[in-house]
């Protein structure tokens, strides 16, 4: 069968799959292919995780490969460090964003630095899976967007998928990476669906490459994770207003794909960064600053930011007012000084 024919057949066999299923499949395939991969976390065993991402893994690979740990996040990540020191490749699940905070010291002071501290002698190929973001009606401490903390920590990769296929590809790549990766899973996309054939040969996306999800000429929306579908929707709605928006899904916050991003903004001359995380001190500042450094003379307007407000994450009944939505994105696009230039 030719590659084209194979691809066509694979596409035909594709069935709707959720992002959670694709993530689970990535774990399964990693466990199957590489005996040094171990999954550990709270409730990842028989329960299959509170989001069911690890469903079936303990059954298929045994408790030694997919392990329910005691309830202690620093302990989980700390023991994962030890396991990685011995040559294993641990994949740690943090149950929710805010419950990764107890492991912060281990993450910052050890995970991120061990390779550097030992001049390359002891890399730590650990993947830390962190469900993040809101929009699922979670009560407090269940909806934080904590990516700014990880971005500010040299030595970590920070990756986040927005599609079912990327969920698989990026998680495989993260587990295969010889560096520690904080793998941020957008909670509200866990149940998002796409046609996907888990048995077809899957593309393993390289870490560190953004992708243009929609080409456009008026302005660029720079976004990632849970905000990607929102930006796509905004771009569709913008057509009616006469704007042809380009949408860039960053996919990897660290390393940052300056090339793809700058190329897009140079083309369009205008940009809005969109994310759920608080605006102040959030990822958008870094992104806007580096785009401006690189594209200053191409910019018709300052790079604007649409972000969560600078408040603790709100209670479920109010979260829709906090989360960047289509209208707020279009409002920002409207402020891109259209009278000023092209």
């Amino acid at each position: 069968m030719s590659t084209v024919a194979a691809e066509r057949a694979a596409k035909k066999a594709a069935k709707p799959a959720t992002m959670a299923q694709a993530l689970g499949r990535a774990l399964r395939d990693s466990l199957a292919e590489d005996p040094t991969v171990h999954v550990l976390g709270e409730d990842v065993g028989v329960l299959g995780g509170v989001f069911r991402v690890t469903d079936g893994l303990t059954k298929e690979f045994g408790e030694d490969r997919c392990t329910d740990t005691p309830l202690a996040e620093a302990g989980i990540l700390g023991t994962a460090v030890g396991m990685a020191m011995y040559g294993l490749r641990p994949v740690v699940e943090m149950q929710f964003d805010a419950f990764a905070y107890p492991a912060f010291e281990q993450l910052i002071s050890h995970v991120a630095r061990m390779r550097n501290r030992t001049q390359g002698a002891m890399p730590l190929p650990i993947t830390v899976r962190v469900p993040y973001g809101g929009g699922i009606g979670g009560v407090e401490h269940h909806s934080d967007s904590s990516e700014a903390y990880y971005m500010a920590t040299p030595g970590l990769h920070v990756v986040t998928p927005a599609t079912v296929a990327d969920a698989y590809g990026l998680l495989r790549a993260s587990i295969a990476s010889d560096d520690p990766v904080v793998f941020l899973e957008p909670k509200r996309l866990y149940w998002s669906k796409a046609d996907w054939n888990p048995d077809a040969p899957q593309a393993v996306e390289p870490i560190g490459r953004a992708v243009v999800r929609r080409t456009g000429r008026s302005a660029t929306l720079l976004t990632y994770g849970p905000s990607v579908p929102v930006c796509m929707e905004a771009a569709e709605a913008a057509v009616a207003e006469g704007w042809d928006l380009e949408v860039v899904d960053l996919r990897s916050l660290v390393p940052f794909d300056d090339e793809t991003v700058a190329a897009s903004v140079r083309r369009t001359g205008r940009a809005v960064v969109v994310h759920e995380s608080n605006g102040f001190g959030g990822p958008g500042g870094e992104i806007a600053a580096r785009v401006t450094e690189r594209c200053f003379h191409h910019l018709e307007a300052p790079v604007l930011r649409v972000a969560g407000f600078d408040i603790p994450y709100p209670p479920p009944m109010l979260e829709r007012h906090h989360l960047p939505g289509v209208d707020r994105i279009l409002d920002a696009v409207a402020r891109l000084q259209w009278e000023a230039g092209s």
Binding site: G45, L47, D68, P70, L71, P102, G279, P316, L318
Partner: protein, 390 residues
């Protein structure tokens, strides 16, 4: 002499003069959970207290079933039921004086309610209209705590502060078996013992942390055995025996009040429902185990005792049930109303004074709300353009 100076002035001395700093023997728990109901000790139990415990258990169970029902009607975002654990919840509330403080976890709304908090306020967090539905200082009930074990150092700090101020205040902090594995549990107990803070730590060992059974959580003889490592007494009690829990907690509260320092109490109980309504317990435990615990139901145990002793007639039972039903009906009725929310509250109380950044953001949201109200679209609530005084 200040509080901090009251401690022994132990200094490490060369090993020839070494001695244990305290005698470990009295700190160790008994080999069996302490029980009252159905034992000789029951004879000494205060009948009035047993009656109050009974009324509260029945009310507590009804509260649990009502809250669970509210999740099905979409009136609560989530509910972690304490069905089966009512003896612990109720006893924790009843042993405290008004001036004492309770530090509940997410599962312990019942303890707050049994202490007198309005159930609607107790459930605010779980309904989702705000994080904490009551004024903690007014009720001496700390906010329901979700990040596991993080409330324990708070309890220690508060109790310590009260002692520094010379106030007669005890703090009782609640945590689950799973929560004992967290570093904050360790640090809190250690601070409490070193500072001799008037705190009681109540661990409800309900057998599970979501799906994870106790044997994957600890290899200790019992959780109460952890106490000796901090130099405080550890007590093991049958957590479904309301009279026993009350007695053990009362003793611990008295000891704390009298300057005797903290106590760790492990109450052995069982979580009869799933972790929350969102959980599927059949994935990790069998019916048989759950059924076995039904014989040891806290209401059943107390009812048996009261009945045998002729303390429970039909009138009393009816009155207790009536009170419980009235509470449930009121709760149902009030939870069925939509809470009155003002989105502008998002910007309230982030800081004592709003920063210029928050003022800008509030103005933005206000404008959005006004615009959508003008559009006649079913405006996103409270678009009156003013912050509520809430």
């Amino acid at each position: 002499m200040t509080v901090m100076e009251q401690r022994g002035v132990y200094r490490p001395t060369p090993p020839p003069a070494w001695q244990l700093r305290t005698d470990p023997a009295p700190l160790l728990p008994d080999a069996e959970p302490y029980r009252v109901l159905g034992t000789e000790a029951a004879g000494k139990a205060d009948e009035e207290l047993l009656g109050r415990l009974y009324a509260q258990l029945v009310r507590g169970r009804r509260y649990n079933t009502q809250a669970t029902a509210l999740t099905k009607q979409g009136r609560l975002a989530v509910y972690p039921s304490s069905t089966g654990q009512e003896a612990c919840e109720v006893a924790a509330a009843l042993v405290l004086q008004d001036r004492d403080w309770l530090f509940p976890s997410y599962r312990d709304t019942l303890a707050a309610v049994a202490r007198g908090l309005d159930p609607v306020q107790a459930l605010t967090l779980l309904r989702g209209d705000w994080h904490t539905g009551y004024d903690p200082r007014e009720h001496r009930i700390a906010p329901l705590c979700t990040p596991l074990a993080t409330q324990l150092p708070h309890a220690v700090g508060l109790a310590h502060a009260a002692r520094l101020k010379g106030d007669d205040v005890v703090a009782l902090a609640m945590v689950g078996d799973g929560g004992t594995s967290e570093g904050d549990f360790h640090e809190a107990l250690n601070f409490a013992a070193v500072w001799r803070a008037p705190v009681v730590f109540l661990v409800q060992n309900n057998g599970f942390a979501i799906s994870v059974p106790l044997d994957k959580q600890t290899a200790a003889p019992s959780l109460a055995h952890k106490a000796v490592g901090y130099g405080m007494p550890g007590r093991l009690v049958d957590g479904n025996d309301a009279a026993a829990v009350h007695e053990v907690l009362s003793e611990a509260v008295s000891r704390a009040r009298e300057g005797g320092g903290p106590t760790l109490v492990e109450a052995v109980t069982y979580r009869m429902e799933a972790h929350t309504n969102a959980d599927d317990a059949t994935r990790y435990r069998g019916d048989a185990e759950v059924e076995a615990w039904r014989d040891h139901d806290p209401i059943l145990l107390l009812e048996r005792e009261l009945t045998e002793r002729g303390l429970l007639d039909e009138d009393r039972t009816r009155a207790v049930r009536y009170d419980a039903e009235a509470m449930a009906a009121d709760l149902r009725e009030r939870m069925n109303r939509d809470p009155d929310l003002d989105p502008m509250d998002l910007f309230g109380h982030v800081y004592a004074e709003q920063t210029s950044q928050l003022r800008e953001q509030a103005a933005q949201l206000r404008a959005e709300l006004e615009a959508s109200a003008e559009e006649g679209a079913e405006g996103a609530g409270g678009a009156d353009g003013e912050e509520s005084g809430r």
